[in-house]
Symmetry: C2
Subunit: 321 residues, 2 copies
């Protein structure tokens, strides 16, 4: 059994073999630019781990992993256009550097290339993988659309928000694991448990991400806190605060969102703390983390095989900030 770190190195080596030399360069160069910026490659490595949970890793898992990583990058390129984002991983976004039209079209071609990699998968797995990939890809788009819709809405229910987060980010983590499991020959029951492990872990991780952005120790967190608050982003924390605050707190919160008041971050954080948002978020995160662990536990393979996934889950969901 290989650790997340070991498999990341292997995947990165594999990934580095794929540089686009096609023409026109004006279409493919932006992809080389973007793909070279080092993402964490979590999703493709989850696919390899899903395979190794059940059997030795085969080339099929690498083909699926390539498709998954391309899909993730495709979605980032297009999301950055929609969000008019200037920076990603510390570098200029594709649309900022090459223009929106080329970013749109380069993204399209990257999505098509996902399917070139999928088509390398052995015929006996191909329809199943293709079906799961398509369903997941569709859901990620649905999540992005819901996210854009929610930004315009005053009241978003927590359940709807969790559904959006699940579609936008968790299903791809879940499907990455499951694709590996399918290739590893897992039973349908085991596949479903692994999928649910990934999905719930993804939700826990997103709650943690929202929490750290507000309450994290800047030194340990490694980025500026309060970014979500400054950008009026709808987060787990804001939704809960709006749902539980008393009238006065609610009015203040809505005033702070609509106006870029002085010390906005501090004032919003004060309301969050008064509403016990921090304790609630930790509980919610823990709830989803435990569901994830239960599903991992229920997978019918000897527990030593689960060790790398358990370690990764515990690394991702930290209890120390």
């Amino acid at each position: 059994m290989q650790s997340f770190k070991e498999l990341t190195e292997k995947f990165n080596h594999h990934f580095s073999n794929y540089i686009f030399n096609n023409k026109p360069a004006s279409l493919y160069e932006p992809l080389n630019y973007f793909l070279a910026s080092s993402g964490k490659r979590i999703r493709p490595v989850l696919c390899l781990m899903g395979n190794e949970l059940f059997d030795d890793i085969t080339n099929n898992a690498y083909h699926a992993a390539m498709a998954i990583e391309y899909f993730h990058n495709f979605s980032l390129i297009h999301d950055d256009i929609m969000d008019a984002a200037s920076l990603r991983r510390g570098l200029e976004t594709v649309h900022k550097k090459y223009g929106a039209n080329t970013a749109l079209l380069s993204g399209d071609v990257l999505l098509i290339y996902c399917y070139e990699h999928i088509n390398k998968i052995s015929n006996n797995y191909l329809p199943h993988i293709l079906q799961l990939f398509n369903k997941t890809a569709r859901e990620v788009c649905e999540g992005q659309q819901l996210d854009m819709d929610f930004e315009k809405e005053e009241n978003v229910l927590l359940d709807d928000y969790i559904n959006m987060i699940s579609l936008k980010t968790s299903v791809l983590l879940a499907a990455s694991l499951e694709m590996g499991a399918i290739i590893g020959g897992a039973s349908e029951g085991n596949c479903k448990h692994l999928y649910e492990f990934g999905k719930n872990l993804g939700i826990a991780f997103q709650i943690q991400d929202d929490y750290l952005d507000a309450f994290g120790n800047p030194e340990k967190f490694g980025k500026d806190v309060g970014g979500d608050i400054r950008q009026n982003k709808k987060t787990f924390l804001l939704l809960y605060a709006l749902a539980t605050a008393n009238n006065q707190q609610k009015q203040e919160l809505q005033f702070l969102i609509k106006n870029n008041a002085e010390n906005k971050v501090e004032k919003v954080l004060k309301i969050y703390k008064d509403c016990n948002v921090d304790a609630w978020a930790n509980e919610l995160k823990e709830k989803y983390f435990q569901i994830a662990l239960k599903h991992l536990h229920d997978i019918a393979v000897v527990s030593v095989r689960k060790k790398p996934l358990l370690e990764l889950a515990e690394f991702l969901i930290q209890r120390d900030y």
Copy 2:
């Protein structure tokens, strides 16, 4: 053997069974809107015709035809964003009606749905169809990028322009036919001839389209002539005129392109005629049309089976304007 018209009716009936009821409606409603606007459905019907050239039409051909029609519409939705076009088929474009972000994302999801239909194709054809579909989809994106690149370039060589047109429009026609042929059990040689028939017919059709926009009889052509000239679109005619005009004509042409002079259309047409652009375009069209017919002729099936394709080709490439 069924005519283009008969198969169009059958395909339209099949197509009308697919209405998106998925959520969020904000993502899928734009697709229902766009797909309902009646395109000519040439490409999917070519797929059915490619199948029937060799054998009875099966459901596999309908699945491929759905993917092809979705892909064509996906490319139109995204092209309209890039071209900032307001109207398509007499209706508001998707990005104009629903905003650029939703148009982008709806287009993405439509591309993913192409692969849902492809995944319905029997396992014995699936990898081959997927491979041809991917290659073609990629080429269409490359053609669109080249088109955008060429708009910014002063001098575009005719061969490069033909390559761009071929990628942007002809390869999808060609691949539609070939996918049908693959499903019909055609040999590799027959598949290639049918592909080349479609590709060359597509180029001939595009030359005719450029010709009619400049020299067509408005009553027969059914749309305003001179649109390409008014929009300074690079066309076969303009490239040839720029390549063959004398210095004085060239200067005048470049002046007319850069300035929206009075009677611009008439003045450009005068230069076109002085340079014999019209006769040249007709010859070039005829050249590609004859190549197409030769490939149709060389397909090893009894000629009666080819009749619907021959009739369609002769209908598309008219000699009467």
